[in-house]
Amino acid sequence: MVIQALSFYMFAAITVAAGVMVIASRNPVYSVLYLILAFFNAAGLFVLLGAEFLAMILVVVYVGAVAVLFLFVVMMLDINFVQLREGFLQYLPIGGLIGVILLIELGLVAGTWLLGPEVTAVAAVPILPADQVSNTEAIGRVMYTKYVYLFQASGLVLLVAMIGAIVLTLRQREGVRKQSIAAQNARRREDVVATVKVPTGGGV
């Protein structure tokens, strides 16, 4: 138990600290690296919860794909981040005020944390207890049955995202020579090779 609690506090503290560094560091590349650190520690938190599948997915998808993509974008685009930050001090008072108000509100919410007796009763328990199925299987069981609508709908959202990316970025460039594999395969020897009898000393 002690080890579990200790690791929870370690993971949680590093996640929060890395989150702060994401917005505080001057160099955007460092920001992305801190983001990766935050993702790793969040994955650690998932493991502590017994959700090892989510932990692996978080590392594979967010660290492996999303964060690397961020790095590419940050490194390839020539954005002057110093210029972007220029208005920071100017907006600090109002931004700070809003932050303080939000903090007070959060405190109020946490202070009056009141779970009705019916809350635990209505919580959906569609999955079997952990000793009967692994959590990967448990997710699979509800994702493709109870939540198939959401699964399919998310698929449609991704389809639209793909169409959108193509619509907004694909350009047909003029004068590009493309390989036409069908034409290549359809070429027959008779069409392109001709046997010519060359008279001696005459040339073609």
């Binding site: 509100e105 109020l108 919410v109 009056t112 944390w113 009141l114 779970l115 009705g116 019916e118 809350v119 635990t120 009763a121 209505v122 919580a123 959906a124 079997l128 069981r141 049955t145 109870k146 939540y147 198939v148 609508y149 959401l150 399919q152 709908a153 998310s154 449609l156 959202v157 389809l159 639209v160 995202a161 169409i163 959108g164 193509i166 619509v167 907004l168």
Partner: protein, 483 residues
Amino acid sequence: MEATTLVLMPAIPEIFLACAGMALLMVGVFIGDRSLRLVSWLAVGSFVITAALLYVFTGWGGRELAFGGLFVADSFALFAKLFILLGSAVAIILSMDYLEREHTVRFEYPILILFATLGMMMMVSANSLISLYVGLELQSLALYVLAAIRRDTIRSTEAGLKYFVLGALSSGMLLYGSSMIYGFTGSVDFTVLANSLAGDEVSVGLIVGIVFLSVGLAFKVSAVPFHMWTPDVYEGAPTPVTALFASAPKFAAVVLFCRVMVEPFGNIVDQWQQIIVLISIGSMVLGALAAINQTNIKRLMAYSSIGHMGYALIGLAAGSEIGIRGVLIYMAIYIVMNLGTFAIILCMRHQGRMVEGISDLAGLSKTHPMMAVALTIFMFSMAGIPPLAGFFGKLYVFLAAIEAQLYTLAVIGVVSSVVGAFYYLRIVKLMYFDEPVEILDRPIPREMGAVITISGLFTLLFFLWPAPILNAAAQAAASLFAG
């Protein structure tokens, strides 16, 4: 694990529309951009078939759940879906001529509208916070791309980017609110939420969740103080896209707002009523005042739509069945007037070039008498002058407000509609009493003429036979409260 049957029947229209979208995508890919007109008309055709399927599989008066309670098909959703399909179909019809003239011939355009429409239909049929979010994202994502579809013009890409960033922010708010609601009630299902909130005691966390949820939705309906994106996006997006933005998605977002507030949180009306009252007053006042010194007609229509959202939300603030009926009637009339007005804006061309200034309408009565008459009808109707359709829309929401004893709201509504009448009448004055500066091109394309004529006749003659829409709206509102 025991076998459970998956109920699909009530969602057949949506499933059909999704399949039609993918089939059209194949058509477009194989034929290429030449197929714009074909794909457009096929998309309109699939909207018509979807509407027919809606009648067959839902019909009036029923309430059925599909996909394990994530999706609900009732009269309320049916009413909304029919108008959403109408709005999207007209938006596609209005676009074809524009896209060809402005060299933006892309077959993806009608397909993106189709998927946005599917998202809207999923929104109004949502029966849980998750299906609400997924539907909303499907709709929004398609609309972000549509706003930026003229990717070579700075204004269009700027509009798309602005819409995307602010839309993502509002989605974040909505998700944060949803997670709070889930955390404090233990469920995301609207039916379960409604049952578990029957008691008097409401935790602060839940209220914070509802506030964030309504902030996210207010962004989508562009109600004050979350309206900032509207004028810029409406002005920057290509005009037919603006016509779409101002019609079907608005309808869907308002209907979704009503469903979220009334269905799960109907038992705690006094907790959210003041939020709606405030954003409603803000929208009406800003819509009336900020539109006065606009010179661009698309910006003017943006402020006008903010104002109209304020009036529609009066009905929601009442929180009663009559109020919701008022909202539905208001939005149904609004969508028709708006499509007609945008059809006229799309006809504003000077020597083949689109013009958007309000001053370009000067002397329209001399150059295009019929168009001037139609625009006059729409402007009078938007100002709420009897006996045009817009008057009835306002009448029913104000009646609901009086009945719910929201007198201040009703009075502010009437006053701001008088102020708002100023800028609508200014356009009429420009058309009839000023000399033409630039003569707009003739003739106007046939589709535009048809849309202007039909919506003009509807707006003008609505008072003769309002019963079908009034009854349908009443039935739809009743089904929302029965559920």
